[in-house]
Subunit: 108 residues, 2 copies
């Protein structure tokens, strides 16, 4: 039997961990891709980083409550927990440019 | 001659560093105190942590661009860089409860 992946319940989600998860540009980009495209198969995520590093990023996003991971056969499908984060921390996903419309500024 | 304290210019402030700075509850509380009370003398900040830990928190807040530190004689006066952060990342300080009205929820 495969161990269940850990996901915090909504009331367990902490702002500390969410902000830590979103303080990395690749993790923010993954969150933005999930927002723009809906659920995403992990294997379709393409970044110029080691697979183990990507796995770490996905774990941080999942354990902080930013993202849900579902195992479907051999695939892992990830989804942004937009409703949970938005209800706990209104405006945060917009402010960190995950759900905001595309915008270019000097600071990234 | 005393070395000048480092402060990033507005255009150098990065979202990564700001989110990292705000991912700690004591650093968020210091930011909130500065918001509520205006400038603050460092010696008036009272937390049950080592002085060196507090100094570290203040350095992270300053170097990320969240806070300005001014040396006045033997005192250091800290101020939230609200205009800079708000213009770069609109809504962020509210979303992380630094400038938002007091609100109690299950998650902190």
């Amino acid at each position: 039997m495969r161990a269940e992946l850990y996901h915090p319940d909504r009331e367990e989600i902490s702002l500390d961990k969410v902000l830590h998860a979103l303080s990395d540009p690749i993790r923010r980009d993954i969150a933005r891709v999930m927002h723009l495209e809906g659920s995403r198969v992990c294997g379709q995520l393409d970044y110029p980083i080691a697979k183990s590093t990507l796995s770490h990023h996905l774990k941080v996003l999942r354990e902080s409550g930013v993202m849900h991971t579902e195992i479907r056969g051999t695939a892992r499908v990830v989804t942004l927990r937009r409703d949970d984060i938005e209800s706990l921390f209104p405006g945060l996903l917009d402010a960190v440019r995950v759900t905001a419309p595309e915008r270019r500024t000097a600071a990234v």
